[in-house]
Symmetry: C2
Subunit: 199 residues, 2 copies
Amino acid sequence: MRPRSADKEQAIRTKALQLIREEGLENLSMQKLAKAAEISPRTIYLKYKDKEDLLIRLFIEEVLGAYEAAVLDGFDDMQPFADGVRHIWQNTYCYLTANREAFALMQYGKSSPLLNKAYQERGIREGQFFAPIHRFLTRHAEAGRIRPFPIPVYRALLFAPLFELVNESFERADRHEPPFSEALLGDVCSSLIQSALLP
Amino acid sequence: MRPRSADKEQAIRTKALQLIREEGLENLSMQKLAKAAEISPRTIYLKYKDKEDLLIRLFIEEVLGAYEAAVLDGFDDMQPFADGVRHIWQNTYCYLTANREAFALMQYGKSSPLLNKAYQERGIREGQFFAPIHRFLTRHAEAGRIRPFPIPVYRALLFAPLFELVNESFERADRHEPPFSEALLGDVCSSLIQSALLP
DNA sequence: AATTAGTAAATAAACGTTTACTTATATTTG
DNA sequence: CAAATATAAGTAAACGTTTATTTACTAATT
């Protein structure tokens, strides 16, 4: 039997992310994607059940999977609070600014009902996504070192600004402005750490 | 001559927002919208040049316009820093949790190239959007009361968590969980104010 | 009577997906 | 150890449907 060439599968994913970032999820069509990946439309259907399956797997496997790995790289849930938060900030900022296509699809995850549903189902079913960060926050909360908030509130407080800064840094780059300095990002991160710590 | 009935225009906007929130921007079609608004497709084209024009004006006029008005309601750029930030938090949280359709389209504004472009063009051309908040932050920064950050950084630090909390509160409502208490939201807001203030 | 609001039905183009076919290779066979 | 075969990968072209938009018409009000 004939083996499948792995580069076609990768071409589909890479070009899909590229098209989504450039033209938007709402303008991605299977025929456009096939043309961009230089394959027949049928070939996509050899690897994905339908468009929905493609988008969900692209989102979960290609984007969220790689993002999670990058963010948690070298992270240890036993770290001191400030060190751990700074570690995640560093990883996240580096990964996202270097992977704009992934960031674009992640933003759609907050809008599109399809991706949003996929994200929530994965979050509930596996319960594993970012589990180390969950443990890290729970541990420091129980030790009385940080204000006792629900986990989603820590996420909002400590990490929502980071996403906004990533987005802003893309826009600065588009306008050919200099990037945020490491010192500035460090200052914002420190401010947030301070705001979460109990006196 | 025959006068146009204003309720058809409003039906188009209301149903469009409803459909976008329920099924996503990528699944909104002109024919679906016409059927939902109980009019002929042609009628939409009497009021909007094309689909793009409809979406952009829906976003800018219907959503961002009303949002800006709600957020700035009663806000005074001469307020003390903590009061002003708390005021905006209160306005924003109340408006967005009561207008889920508007929030959904605003989220698309961060993903969709079409809406994103419209947003940035308006931001640059008019330079007026949220000008009072801009003045408010600049004034307190120049007086040396808060850390000297660029404006977009303040936006990230002070308001990105608020959006995340609004989103989270919709998800809690969907899961029939109790809403965030006013005290909790107040605590988070105070933490952020603290993190921006210079010692 | 003049003019614009509004409609039903049609348009061509693009859509997701499938059919009918060809190509390439791992394994079996001579 | 080749040649034959089986099988899945891959393609080109088509399927019926839905898309955005328009044409040709009717309705209502000044």
